[in-house]
Symmetry: C2
Subunit: 423 residues, 2 copies
């Protein structure tokens, strides 16, 4: 089945907003085993919308149209759709009632121009939007089935997943169930992971398991798309493959599916009844910012300290009475972690201290990262060098600090060689 | 002049990467007074690329093609371009020599498949790429001028600005100079700013000044695009309009052009020889993360403290011996800012303390923000309520904290009513 995506709206066409809806829809369809073959973007312009509809109707089996369902005069999707299908616009009483109740539940009267959102091409199939006033709909134009979706990302996402993908899968004649299994890792690059997972797809000989990757430095997402006749069939195919992926990527897997590195770290702290003190330098608060705002973090995140002048390290963690701290080293990092833990009254402390190379930012600018984790009776240390410019070093150090803590809390080796560091 | 953008590549089509190149190119052209009317995305597929080239060649005056100039077999842009123009591919000896020297400067031998990058359609005009091996080029196909650009964002950006936009402006016959003037503000929404700036365009009666906005919560960017015959003409037109914008948006303008809020704050601290202590709660390190990683921040950013358990506030800033701090209030915030300043030995302290509403995250979830700024002899305080969900509150509080400090350092009123807060 050839699927096209047609994004509408002046704000998207002129780059006023980045079109993340396109990549979201496309990725979600690919993850469901469906294939997007063409993308079009046009503004709120009658002639160009008509032309884009006509071209897609002649080329595709299904078209997802995004945007143009709002109440204002520049929202043209219903009107152009009706014209392209050669049918009139008719009032959908059911959707009108739904909108009126939507407003009355918020103690507001529906403005008259919202009525336009209930005008649908005759014969259109309604696609429910439980969280907004824009009514989605499906309609045949030419030889293609068109699916019209709202521009608001959360409304689009829900409609795509609940209403559109099941209809596309039914039309594509693909077997009943498709499941996406995801593994998140830190420290191995895409080509390395691809090599480690060689032969994984062939474990299920009928070709129903597909391996894919999505790299967003410093993390890598490994994806398995599995087709089956029913949920049991999928589970039976997936189990041995999942076990192999876990075995081969091993300690580098930091979370699966919707979980995140920071979520896993926080959950491990909460489960152990532990609390965290954090000291960071050039990461500048970004490690704290990943974890400390999460719900329930107030129970485990005790204190974060951010410093840039490394000569202030001792004083900031209450070491001013002791001997002066030397340059960054295992001893310094350990002393800082231990002192921060004591100062904050936490069970665990993580210190991520960075000695930046001298000089201006450049593509080979680097830094040396010293990470220490202390509890009452344990200490772990990791030293690493990252090159690639200030931002690259900073992003890498944030992830490395959090991942070392994840490994420590899971009793895994903290200092395992990764692909992004210089030996 | 009708301009189209044609993005190529499986990674973009399947949503594996978000297509930020499209919005970058589109916005940059709009900012130069040029108009994009159509966007197309196709994968690395011969037939679909040919079809996309054919359609664009029949519709547009100019087409920017992005991607497909690499050394691998799935990079097809030169080949399809030559076929569409009906000319052969010929080796460009000059570009080949350039690539060979590119590799030898890095002490590497050029791999044989890179030779492909010097094969250009006969008659193509070379567009220089001083930072990569992909050779840009321009070529007439049908009635349109096609400009081929690399997929690597920094290579694309440089080629677009230095090579392509000047050629497009020359072809469009528009007057010689276009300048983009930008104002960044925090605290006024787009429609409010639009109302405040009513009549601004008409100050220059020949229509050569265009007003636009780009909202990215919590900041708003106000843009003036000015056309003129030469730099003097533009400067003459821009001066009174710029003065009016500054007057009407007043204290809300936090920076202009390429400057940022955090950059302005850091510059003000450095200029005053001042140093900063920072205490934050639910913003979770994000305020520190905006400022403390900047070059030279090590000279002014003294210490950041991040806490989530508000009962620990006193202890963390060295107030444990004093009376227990009560619930958040002006008094609490002032005491915390003063103590943090003394503890860190800084000239200035900023405390951004947030009492979150109870309950789970929701679209109307809110928080009360208490901001105090202390020096040796001055104290400023601002209280604000923001509703809109956890992320909305957090983003708003980060910006409000930084903007209050900016106002304080610039001797402006710290507590001025903004559009995003509940009274």
């Amino acid at each position: 089945m050839r699927i096209e995506i047609l994004c509408t709206g002046d704000e998207v066409l002129t780059g006023k907003i980045t079109n993340s809806n396109f990549s979201y829809v496309s990725q979600k369809l690919e993850d469901s085993g469906l294939t997007v073959v063409w993308g079009t973007t046009v503004g709120d312009d009658r002639a160009r919308l008509e032309e884009a509809f006509r071209l897609a109707a002649g080329r595709a089996d299904a078209v997802i149209v995004n945007g143009g369902l709002g109440p204002t005069v520049d929202d043209l999707s219903q009107e152009i759709a009706a014209a392209a299908a050669g049918v009139p616009l008719v009032l959908n009483e059911e959707w009108l009632a739904k909108m009126e109740s939507f407003f009355s539940r918020r103690s507001r009267v529906m403005p008259p121009n919202n009525r336009k959102q209930a005008m649908l091409p005759e014969g259109a199939e309604v696609l429910d939007n439980p969280i907004g006033t824009a009514c989605g709909f499906a309609l045949d134009i030419g030889k293609a089935r068109f699916f019209f979706t709202p521009g608001v990302p959360r409304e689009l996402r829900r409609m795509l997943e609940e209403q559109i993908i099941p209809r596309l899968l039914a039309r594509s004649g693909a077997p009943g169930v498709i499941v996406l299994k995801r593994f998140h890792s830190y420290g191995i690059g895409e080509s390395h992971a691809d090599a480690l997972l060689e032969g994984i797809e062939a474990m299920v000989p009928d070709g129903s398991v597909k391996l894919g990757f999505r790299a967003h430095y410093p993390q890598l997402e490994t994806k398995l798309t599995v087709r089956g006749t029913d949920p049991d069939d999928v589970a039976r195919k997936l189990a041995p493959v999942t076990a192999q992926v876990r075995l081969r990527l091993g300690n580098f897997i930091l979370a699966e599916d919707d979980r995140t590195l920071e979520g896993v770290v926080l959950a491990a702290l909460l489960e152990a009844g532990a609390s965290l003190a954090l000291v960071e330098t050039f990461t500048a608060g970004q490690i704290a910012a990943r974890i400390a705002h999460l719900p329930e973090a107030e129970r485990a995140f005790r204190r974060g300290i951010v410093l840039r002048d490394l000569t202030e390290l001792g004083g900031a963690v209450g070491l001013e009475e002791g001997p002066a701290l030397g340059p960054l080293s295992e001893e310094t990092a350990a002393a800082v972690a231990r002192a921060a833990r004591a100062q904050a009254g936490a069970t665990h402390a993580l210190a991520v201290l960075i000695a930046l190379d001298p000089g201006a930012d450049a593509i080979d600018f680097g830094g040396t990262i010293h990470i220490a984790i202390a509890t009452g009776d344990r200490l772990a240390y990791r030293r690493s060098r990252i090159l690639g410019g200030r931002e690259w070093v900073r992003l890498g150090a944030v992830e490395m600090g959090l991942d070392c803590l994840r490994r420590f809390l899971q009793d895994l080796p903290v200092a395992e060689r990764i692909d992004f560091e210089k030996v």
